[in-house]
Symmetry: C2
Subunit: 456 residues, 2 copies
């Protein structure tokens, strides 16, 4: 008995309607990337393990999909390491490659490897799959698509301002009006930690702060207290969490509180520089968020995070930030970088949930040519070839099934038109073309059939 076929957990098949929706989003993102001067690159699905290992922390190493060495090479399996439960060493003995875990580390590797072929500042975008052996759940897959744009080799508030404009442009094109672009700056978080009297505990502090959406301010205070932050620190933190009003106002308040923290003041000044480039524009959903603390193991300056509208239960749908030393991992120093990323899969789920996919997105054929016998179809061959050349998507029904069955097919195909050409039509030299939406039929002389009229 054959098993019912299936695919690995956390992976997906995409049917034509799915591909159409995903392409719609990808096309919008790519178009905007290009309008902001980013150029496309692609990297291999498989990277050398040495390129990826150790770049994503312990969790990343654990969740990476390793490729088994081929053929005879698996004979080199380090059974001793297996026996001693040293799974890392065992894995290393039988695997030298792993699947791409994100697009950022391969990009850093790419920049170093191709530095003499590139022009800096280099702006690249990349839309490719990544793989993580994570436990699948809503919005989290083992294979998913990232859409990244990064610029390396320059530092300028212009670039940060353009990232924000780019987020805004993509969401505007997707009619996703209520997505919020949150910004923060590592310098500000660093300055606050010092201000609270715990200069070396930025990670400890921000890990808790980042939970404020889930556990509230009181939860944050409780957790920090448990972590050993004293009442003195916590009373200093309190007013910071009360910031409100326009971004400018918030930054002013922050500046007045952190007046003795130069690193924070630099961060604030930098955000002001960025905002200056945005002031003539209307970026409606830009918000300063002091509690935003993602990616602090690599972000060194501004931090971005995009959250969907409040009524959609979904994590971030985009993120980014400045990182100043990524390529140093591969031996190239002082290559400043700034990047943003869209999560295609979650973005599609949000658009789906909010019913924001245009009705016209569904890919389909323009016209189904019904089959009244091979000889009639043969008459049409040169015409159909012409229509296709003119851009019409023509599906010829391949066999002389009963008309009812053929019409059912035409209906389900979603084609707006069905073409009849049988004995009657041949005698009269006409095509009969049925409008599938309203059921009306019009007759057109074969040679007068203008394909363009029927291209929806």
């Amino acid at each position: 008995m054959l098993q019912k076929p299936s695919i690995p957990k956390g992976t997906r098949d995409f049917l034509p309607a799915d591909v159409a929706r995903r392409s719609y989003v990808i096309d919008i993102i790519k178009t905007q990337f290009e309008r902001f001067g980013f150029l496309p690159i692609e990297t291999p699905a498989m990277e050398k393990s040495t390129t990826l290992q150790g770049k994503y922390g312990e969790e990343g190493d654990r969740l990476m999909f390793n490729i088994l060495n081929s053929g005879e090479k698996v004979k080199k399996a380090d059974v001793d390491a297996l026996t001693k439960n040293n799974l890392g060493l065992f894995t290393k003995s039988i695997s030298e490659k792993a699947l791409r875990y994100d697009l950022t580390v391969p990009f850093a590797r790419f920049v170093v490897q191709h530095q003499n072929e590139l022009m800096f500042p280099f702006k690249r975008y990349q839309v490719q799959s990544v793989w993580r052996a994570d436990r699948p759940q809503r919005g989290r897959f083992q294979e998913f698509t990232q859409c990244d744009a990064d610029v390396v080799g320059a530092v300028s508030p212009v670039l940060e301002a353009e990232c924000i404009q780019l987020f805004d442009a993509v969401f505007s094109e997707l009619h996703l009006k209520d997505a919020t672009i949150r910004i923060n700056h590592r310098g500000i978080l660093s300055g606050i930690t010092t201000y609270l009297g715990a200069p070396k505990r930025i990670v400890d502090f921000t890990v808790t702060l980042d939970k404020i959406d889930k556990i509230g301010a009181s939860g944050v205070f409780d957790e920090l207290r448990k972590k050993g932050f004293g009442d003195d620190s916590l009373s200093k933190l309190y007013p910071l969490l009360e910031l409100s009003g326009a971004i400018d106002v918030q930054l002013d308040t922050l500046e007045s509180i952190l007046t003795d923290q130069p690193v924070a003041l630099e961060g604030i000044a930098h955000l002001r520089d960025v905002l200056r480039f945005l002031s003539p524009l209307h970026v409606s959903k830009l918000a300063f968020d002091l509690t935003l603390a993602r990616g602090l193991n690599y972000y060194t300056g501004i931090i971005f995070e995009i959250v969907p509208p409040k009524d959609v239960a979904m994590g971030s749908i985009g993120a980014g930030g400045r990182y100043d030393d990524l390529t140093a991992l591969f031996g190239l120093k002082d290559m400043h970088g700034l990047g943003i990323s869209f999560g295609l899969d979650r973005l599609c789920m949000v658009l789906e949930e909010l019913d924001l996919f245009p009705k016209t997105v569904q890919q389909s054929v323009n016209i189904v040519v019904l089959h009244f016998g091979d000889t009639f179809l043969q008459d049409l061959v040169p015409h159909i070839a012409k229509w296709r050349k003119a851009g019409l998507r023509v599906l010829t029904y391949p066999t002389s099934h009963k008309l009812k069955k053929q019409m059912q097919f035409a209906n389900q195909s979603g084609a707006p038109w069905a073409l009849f050409y049988g004995e009657q039509e041949k005698k009269e030299g006409f095509l009969a073309i049925k409008n599938m939406a309203n059921g009306t039929t019009e007759k057109i002389k074969i040679d007068a059939f203008a394909a363009s009229k029927f291209i929806s």
Copy 2:
């Protein structure tokens, strides 16, 4: 000391110019697929090993990239099997998934799995990467892209004729005029084998016959003699290899020789049915090739193979055929199929070699905005936003480097225009726009700058 970063052998990075060329070809192929009524699907990069194993013969199993089970699961490694050199069993104990080896088997799995969501005849196309642990060489990679179109659930010469038209349309759009579409039919090969008195040796016979391009007719005779084919057989074969003239003429001759071989006659009749649909068209490079014998472990009817123009040393750049029982592997019988495939990577190499990529393919920005200081750029921000919204690809140089350096950048970027807006221009309320091709500069009022004029 850090190692110079690199990627696994047989894989490639694609720089912007490479991606642009590949996208050019992919877009043409996809457009033609859609005009012939095929709809896109996508399947996961990773399939369950049970789906792929045993579907590609021994070689396929050997060249498949297996994914190591994650985390604690590798503890289940069957060390005993390893000791006994049973590498297959050992692999099975630590790996349950493998990378896609082609697009056909995943498609068969897809059709069976989603049969209730699909409408038959189902025409799908798929453009995705596949992975094979093959020894890398010119035109052969470990990661490469296939572009497949298949129709399942119908049998009709219309479909075969459309496959040939589709090949022709793609090559015509690519200006690859001299690619030859070779066709043959399994029934003809089968009939010939019987005619030669060796009805059960079709594979043995065709493996040798297929080498005729390399070893010539005399080489074929030598090899067949070694394989035990007698003089009687070989003298019967001789006239078959002498076929020449138009396809119709060749089929007539063949028919007169194989008059007692019903399977061959059926094949000939089928090819004639197909040709009847093509006769009103001008498919210039269609050739009947009796020695074409690829994929005989799955093709059951017509066989296609595309070879590049003679002066390009490259194997086939496209292939296909009818297979009548592929989904039976997954428990769904009587689902007839017909498919064609383009090898993107080889196709790109052929176009490169023949210099057939249009000059306009190179992706680039339309205009580089030079940087004369943040305040000047800030003035331009709302204008640049408008131009981008209108479709212009604008790259703003992010820092006030020396003008010479900025102009070098603009030059190398390939942008046709560079925009100057500094003290002088601000005073006069103009933009100065330099045509990078001829070096001339024109002045335009900021508000009168019509983005569309500068979209190349």
